[in-house]
Structures are given as structure tokens and as C-alpha cells.
Amino acid sequence: MKLHLRIWRQAGPDAQGHMARYELDGVTPDMSFLDMLDTLNEQLIAEGCEPVAFDHDCREGICGACGVVINGEAHGPERTTTCQLHMRHFSDGDTIDVEPWRAAAFPVVKDLVVDRSAMDRVIGSGGYVSVPTGSAPEAHATPVPKPDADEAFTHAECIGCGACVAACPNGAAMLFTAAKVVHLAALPQGRVERESRVLDMVGTMDEESFGGCTVTGECATACPKGIPLTSIAAMNREYVRAVRKRR
């Protein structure tokens, strides 16, 4: 099929960006969205033009590197990562807009590539259990009820792609932060540091120019891993609990 692409081109962080138009023929339904961009890039190289920069790596929907806004939706029309979105969800002759994640906390690096290091700093401020290598007790020393383990797992599935931030009208990172807070609070191993964790992570989130939450729920709709919106409520409970306990 033939596509009309409108893709955000921006030479660098401080450069003025614009939507560039490209015509791409020979797209097949079996291509992934990134295969399609690869094909466009080969065409651009052959024409002597600079290819479109975009982040990607595993192409299996697990590393979280890829992610673009497709026709206004983070990761496009299907609830999956951009690398797992296939062109069969588009039609011959479609016009497709491709833009980078848009958020104050995610400055554009080039074209469709953004800087998501703010999310790493949120994790670094408390998204861990302080257990130096070698100091761990026997794994079976503390049984974990299966429902708690499952709850932890559901939230641990976050791949850190940033779609939740990109989808949020406020550019908030609540779903991302809540996923880690709830994952670790669900487990006995994570409960020792639960108060400092939620307070520090929320504090960092605010410092990193992520917006505030107004519970529009766009984050959970865009999340390719199905992190539930209720995790935000759970994090708020953790937060209130921590504030009270600290008082």
C-alpha cells in the first residue's frame, strides 16, 4: 500500500522543528510500524537525504525504547508498543502523522527521539530495595502470599516507555511512578522503605517538570502493558500514609 507520511523533523534540541511530508510506496500489511520507518529511511538514504531518527531496540515490545505519537495517539491505535504495531491496522492511501513524545520533561533530542532520563532519576530516588549484593537472606525465608506476588508482578510489568507521560494532557508521570511504588509496596521486601520511597519518588517527579494528575486516565489507556489506573489511587494512599506516619 501507499502512504502519505507527515513526520516531525527537528535537527537538534534547540532547533526549530516542522512536519515533513513523505510519500512511501510498497508498504505491506505484515510490516511493523518500525519496519515501515526503516523502509522510509532506506529510501531517504538512497535519495541522499538524512534518515529519520527514532529510538528502538528489542522490537519485541519489552525494552521500552521505542515510542512515537501516531495520529495523535501514543503508540498508535492498538494497545501495544510502536514496534508491535503492524501496518495492517492502516489502509492504502492513509495519511499518517508521526510525532515524538510531547512532554515538558521529555525534551526532543532529534526528530522522534526524546530524552527520557527524568524517569531514570525518579527510579533512582527510591524505586529500589536497599539490598547490597551478598546481604540477602535465603529466598524462602519470607513467604509471599500469591495474590501479593501477582499484584507486584502486574505493576512490575512497566517497560518505562513513557507513553503514559506522552498521552497525559498534563505530561504527568503518575502512572509510571505509581507502578514502581505499588510493585515494591506489595512485597514484604519492599515495605521497609515504603514511606521514604513514595515521598522521595513523588518529590523527584515534581522536580523533574512532570505535570500534576487530574485523573483523565489517558495514561492507562495508552499503556502498552496495561498498568491499571487504580495504581495511581494506590500510590496516593501510600503517599498519605507516609505523610501521616512521618508527622
Binding site: 505491506t28 541522499g48 522490537r59 519489552i62 525494552c63 495492517r88 533512582g124 529466598a139 508482578f153
Partner: protein
């Protein structure tokens, strides 16, 4: 390559690269040609390759290797095998905690091995300078591992033990791994699970609250711990979180989006790396007291593999060029159950868990070229070839056998799907026997994943699968301490060659990465630092040392050659071509004639690369074409060593199958008399025959036997 005059460390080099790029775009055709010629000479392959010829008797210059001094692992202790690791740790000299602050260690890569090592070394008090090419240390390819992680916990009381895991791993590796190292791996496996549970890794649990395990890859005990189908992700996030804690504490300086492009060796010791900031293009030198490579395997040399798209061999190869021996490059693992590619546009394959073979039946049409839909082919016209050839094991034969059988039926023209590169994996019988619900319970998420990619439902129509490169057992040669042949350079995880021999067992990659990163390296690295002569131990390298300048200059030159060439072929087109050549001649089954064809073709292809490569853009910005071209330039050298190693090892063993060496029933036939050694290759120049150093392997505890699945 020569050092260009005026190319220095740091900013100078970046300016040089930027300037070079600008100049390259303005060049006339003649200048560009001269530059291409220059690049060729630099890469050191001036000799003209002979024309391609299928005759196996021909000689290939590169195959004319010399045999050098044998390799000896001097760091391995002797004595009873179960006591060796304790002895090594006791005999290791320690670095005073106060002195650790004075040592900087570079760790390249943030996968399971690198992330675990960086976090642990920082916890011990070393200053860690860590690198990854991704935008975040959370994204390394360890994240994609599905199945699980082995550990000899014996929670099932099913007869497992450290010794049994050791035994299984040595045997599974087809007797081409070192006993001491494998035994240590089995010992340490137990501690890994403790560590990960304490980090909050949400392993699968039973209703009693204890950890669940399963048996994996045909092993008779249930020793595989898992976290749904995302074990690698969860283990990696555990290591990443520990690393993040150290980054926030200022103990690790993390440089994401920075790619190692060379190793700095001064006075025979690894003292740093040259790396490129992928955002600004700045090429800089980073200096340290030791360098740890945790940069993964080289499976992407085959172009189509299950590796992440940007996984590459550049760090390994550049270290090899600087003196680190490369061991057993021909030991590559092919996974039989990947989703076949849909067309030429595709450059990455997706793995489907091997567990599918427990209930799926593999078949192809009896008649070549039969293109009826699978449902219309009656049973009498189907060939369930694994069940036919291996009645005892049927569809559960080991990975390599299943893979070769698939290729051979496809070579007969009986493959299915686009391009005839696929075989059916059919669940019809399983659904009839167990019911759709039970099948969905077992494989639902895999079926969903398959359907998302292919738009076909495995409930309705048989899956199509095909083998793909998945893991590389070969890598940099390391001793028991995980130190390479360059003092101060260590290699951990998939980057080294150590524990899997010629074949890796399922669920053992995660185990080895974490064993190396959390436990082994942090114990042995200190010994290296503690034994440095007093006057050297805390002496920093001068940033203006000629070797530093030379190294930065060479990296800059090479990128300049790529940018300024202005040819007519994309990096991707060369990657595809070398990959297809390797897959054809050095893939699942290898023979002398094919390997010689490849060895004749590769130098010509490499020459063509340096003449015709086109890299748009400049070196002073994010330039993914430049990154790719640079990686492909290394594949074009590594591919040659891979084929040579495969040619020289005339036996079949593990993942390396030489068609000349098989039993009557088509089993791999080892030649223990001649090949019970690890082949460590020494670099002598691109395109020049390397020197082979053999490390003889001794089996005191597990006696070599021949496997049989017929």
C-alpha cells in the same frame, strides 16, 4: 589505522570529526575516491581476494593461520572442584575499603552482567564509570529473555544439587567448557535467587507463598525460576534498580547514549576506552584502573537474529584488535522456534518460547511446492518429520537437531509460508485432546503475541516457525577470574566464552550473566587491583599520553572514512549481505566448501563496503546511520574469524555442526582426540591470518559421552 596529525583527545577529536564530516560532504568525486582508498589501506586488507570458487581444495589466505603458544588458565585453583571457588576467594588479595575509593572501574553495558557488576562494585566502594548505548540502563537486551533462570536450590526435593547442575551444564555444553568455571556457576546460582528475591523481583509463587519452579529444556529436575514469560525483564529491572541507587548516590557515573569504540591499552594494561556520545557526536577518552566489558554477544553479525536491533560486536571486536583473544567464535546457538520473516523489509526475528514444542506437532507437506492451505492437506500428505526421524523424542529433540531438520526440509522445497522459509507447528491435536481452554491456559500469551505479528490465530491455523540465531557461546577468552588476555580487561556475561561450552542450556544465560556480575567479577577484580605494583596502583593515566591520543585518532579516522566516502550503498544493505552469507555458509550446518566460499567472499565484500558505503549526515550529531555503518564495519571483520574458526574445527559439537562429522543417524560427531580445547584467536591485522592459541580442556569429574536422540 594511522593517527592523523593533530587529532588529539577530547574536544579536539570531536572538532576533527565534525570538521571531517563537513569536508566530506563538500568533497569532489576524486577526493572521495582517494579517501576510500585510504580507508581500505587503514583497515589493513590491501591484498586482492581470489575469485569465488566452490572448490573446497582451494586455499584461502586467511585460513593459513599459525598455531601459537598454548593458552593456560593460571588463575584457576586446583584441589577438589567443590572447594575451588572458596579457595580462590580466600587466596585473592583484598583492596582496603578506604583504598577502593581511589580506584575507577569502567563497566561497558548495563544488561544483567553489567548492571549487576556496576551496582556491586559501587556498593563495595569503587568509583564506577558505566556506559550504555541505549537511552537508559534499563533497556539492555537481557530484558527480552522469556523462559527463566536456573538455580540448584532443590526446593522440589527432586534430586537436584550443585553437582547435578554442574554436570548437566558440562554435558549440555558438549564437553567444551571448563569444569572449574561451570562448577562455580552452579554454586553461585543459589545465591542469585536469594539476591533477586530480596530486591523485590516478583518471581512466580505458589499458594503457600513459596517460589514456583518448572523444568525447562528437557532437564529432568525442576530448577527453573520464572516470572511469567518476562523473567529477563524482571531480573534486569532488579539489577537496574540497584544500579540506579548507586547512580543517585554518586557512586556510579552513568553515561547513557554513549558507545564504546575502542580500548585504551597502556604498558600492556587496559586503562580506559574511547567512546562516542551518540547525541553530540563527541569522541572522548575515559580512563580507569580496569575495564569490564559486559556488551553481550555477537549474534547480530547474522543480520537476522533474535537479538535487539542495536546489539553489536564493536566493543568485543575492538578489544580483540587490541590484544584480547577471541575464543570459539563458531559456537553460535540457533533457536528452532522463531516467527519466520514476513518479507525482505524485516531485519529482526521474534522468538517464541520453546515450550510450544511440548504440545505442538511439527510438519511440512510431503510434496515439494505444495502450496495448499494447511487445513486442506490431508494427514497422509503431511510429513511429521521429527516424529518420523526421532521416534523416541519426536518434537522434543534438542534445539540444534530441530533447527537443522527444519532447514533441511525447507532446502528440499517443502518449506511453508512466504519464501518457503518455515515449517508448521500445529496445535490441532493438542486442542482436540486437551480442549481449547487448556491450550489457552498454557500458551495463550504466546498465541496472542504470534497473532499480533502474523495476523493468524494458532487456534485456527498452524503456526509457522523457523530457526534463528539466538545466542553466542563464543566470546572473549577469559581465565577463571574472567580476565581476558589483556591485563585489566575483564569480560562478563555473554561477552565472554566461558561456561556454556559449545551449547547453552535453556535458562542458563540469565544465570551466567548474574553470576558473573553479582558474584564472580566483584571477587576477582579486587585481586587484580590489589596485586598491582605499589607505584602503579594509584597512578592515573595522563590524558595526553600518546597512546590515548592515538586511540582517539584512530576512532576519529575510521568514522571520518565512513562519513566522507559518499558511496551508493546503505549500511543496512551490507549488513543484510554479510548476514545472508553467514547464514548460508556458516549457519546451522557448515562444510568445508561453503566456509571457504565465505572466506573468499568476505574480504571482497569488506573492500566493497569501504568503497561504496554511504553515510548521510555529519559526525557532530545523533547519526544512527553512522552508528550502524561503524558496527557493520566490525561485523565484516568478525565474520571472517567466525568462518575460520568453523573451518578449523572439523568436528561437530554443540551448536557447531560440520556436515562432514556426523553419525549414521545424523547426530553431531565430536572428535575429542583432536578438539578438546578452547580455540583462542589472536588478532594480527584485519584480513590477515590470526594466530591460534589452544587451551586444553580436562574433564576430571564429568566424563565425555556421546549423546543420542535417535
Amino acid at each position: 589505522m594511522t593517527t592523523p596529525p593533530g587529532a588529539g583527545a577530547g574536544q579536539d577529536a570531536a572538532e576533527h570529526a565534525g570538521h571531517a564530516a563537513g569536508r566530506g560532504r563538500e568533497q569532489t568525486g576524486r577526493d572521495a575516491e582517494q579517501d576510500a582508498g585510504h580507508a581500505e589501506q587503514d583497515a589493513g586488507h590491501a591484498e586482492q581476494p581470489p575469485p569465488a570458487d566452490a572448490d573446497a581444495a582451494r586455499t584461502v589466505p586467511y585460513a593459513d593461520y599459525r598455531v601459537g603458544e598454548p593458552l593456560v588458565d593460571r588463575s584457576a585453583p586446583d584441589g577438589p572442584i567443590a572447594e575451588r571457588w572458596d579457595r580462590r576467594r580466600f587466596e585473592a588479595k583484598l583492596v582496603n575499603p578506604a583504598n577502593r575509593r581511589g580506584h575507577t572501574v569502567i563497566v561497558v553495558g548495563t544488561g544483567l552482567a553489567g548492571g549487576a557488576a556496576g551496582a556491586t562494585l559501587a556498593e563495595q566502594g569503587y568509583r564506577v564509570l558505566q556506559f550504555c548505548y541505549q537511552d537508559s540502563p534499563r533497556r539492555a537486551h537481557s530484558i527480552a529473555a522469556q523462559g527463566g533462570i536456573n538455580a540448584a536450590k532443590n526446593y522440589r526435593n527432586d534430586g537436584d544439587s550443585v553437582h547435578r547442575l554442574f554436570y548437566d551444564t558440562v554435558k549440555g555444553g558438549d564437553f567444551r567448557a571448563r569444569e572449574s568455571g561451570v562448577h562455580r556457576l552452579a554454586q553461585v546460582s543459589v545465591e542469585i535467587i536469594d539476591q533477586c528475591v530480596a530486591q523485590g523481583v516478583p518471581f512466580a509463587r505458589e499458594y503457600g507463598g513459596l517460589l514456583d519452579t518448572r523444568s525447562f529444556g528437557g532437564v529432568q529436575v525442576s530448577r527453573t525460576f520464572y516470572a511469567r514469560g518476562q523473567t529477563g525483564q524482571q531480573l534486569l529491572l532488579g539489577a537496574y534498580q540497584s544500579l540506579s541507587r548507586q547512580i543517585a548516590a554518586g557512586q556510579v557515573e552513568m553515561r547513557a547514549r554513549t558507545e564504546m569504540l575502542d580500548l585504551i591499552v597502556i604498558d600492556g594494561r587496559a586503562r580506559g576506552i574511547v567512546a562516542r556520545d551518540l547525541v553530540t557526536g563527541r569522541i572522548d577518552s575515559y580512563l580507569a584502573d580496569a575495564v569490564v566489558l559486559a556488551t553481550g554477544g555477537y549474534g547480530n553479525v547474522f543480520h537476522l537474529s533474535t537479538n535487539a536491533k542495536n546489539s553489536n560486536a564493536t566493543a568485543l571486536w575492538r578489544a580483540h584488535r587490541r590484544g584480547a583473544y577471541f575464543a570459539n567464535p563458531c559456537f553460535t546457538q540457533i533457536h528452532p522456534t522463531c516467527i519466520p520473516r514476513a518479507g525482505d523489509h524485516q531485519s529482526k526475528l521474534t522468538l517464541m518460547s520453546e515450550s510450544l514444542r511440548n504440545d505442538g506437532r511439527i510438519w511440512v507437506p510431503v510434496r515439494a511446492g505444495d502450496d495448499r492451505p494447511p487445513r486442506e492437506i490431508p494427514t497422509s500428505e503431511r510429513d511429521y518429520y521429527l516424529e518420523r526421524q526421532y521416534p523416541a523424542f519426536g518434537n522434543l529433540v534438542p534445539r540444534d537437531i530441530a533447527s537443522r531438520a527444519a532447514k533441511s526440509v525447507c532446502d528440499e522445497g517443502r518449506g511453508v509460508g512466504p519464501g518457503g522459509q518455515g515449517v508448521y507447528l500445529d496445535f490441532t491435536d493438542a486442542i482436540a485432546r486437551l480442549g481449547r481452554e487448556a491450550v489457552a491456559e498454557r500458551y495463550g500469551n504466546l498465541f496472542e503475541m504470534y497473532e499480533r505479528i502474523t495476523a493468524e490465530s494458532p487456534y485456527e491455523t498452524p503456526m509457522r516457525i523457523y530457526p534463528a540465531i539466538h545466542y553466542t557461546m563464543g566470546g572473549l577468552w577469559v581465565d577463571y577470574d574472567l580476565q581476558t588476555t589483556v591485563p585489566g580487561l575483564f569480560a562478563i556475561g555473554e561477552a565472554n566464552f566461558s561456561d556454556h561450552g559449545a551449547n547453552r542450556l535453556g535458562a542458563s544465560a540469565l544465570m551466567q550473566g548474574l553470576a558473573d556480575g553479582y558474584f564472580v567479577l566483584p571477587s576477582t577484580l579486587g585481586d587484580y587491583l590489589a596485586r598491582l605494583p605499589r607505584d602503579e596502583a594509584f597512578r592515573d593515566v595522563d590524558r595526553d599520553h600518546p597512546a590515548v591520543h592515538a586511540c582517539v585518532g584512530e576512532v576519529t579516522d575510521r568514522l571520518f572514512a565512513l562519513l566522507s566516502n559518499n558511496g551508493d550503498r546503505s549500511p543496512e544493505s551490507f549488513h543484510r549481505e554479510i548476514g545472508e552469507l553467514l547464514w548460508e555458509e556458516c549457519g546451522m550446518a557448515r562444510d568445508e566448501a561453503g566456509l571457504k566460499r565465505a572466506l573468499e567472499r568476505i574480504p571482497a565484500l569488506r573492500e566493497e563496503f569501504w568503497q561504496r558505503i554511504r553515510v548521510p549526515g555529519s559526525g557532530r550529531e545523533l547519526n544512527q546511520s553512522l552508528e550502524k555503518a561503524n558496527r557493520v564495519s566490525d561485523y565484516l571483520e568478525l565474520a571472517e574469524l567466525l568462518c575460520l574458526d568453523a573451518l578449523h574445527r572439523t568436528e561437530s559439537c554443540g551448536g557447531h555442526f560440520r556436515t562432514e562429522s556426523q553419525t549414521a543417524s545424523g547426530e553431531a560427531l565430536r572428535d575429542d582426540e583432536s578438539y578438546t580445547y578452547a580455540a583462542g584467536w589472536e588478532f594480527t591485522g584485519a584480513g590477515r591470518a590470526p594466530v591460534l592459541h589452544r587451551e586444553q580442556l580436562n574433564f576430571e569429574y564429568v566424563h565425555p559421552t556421546m549423546r543420542s536422540y535417535a
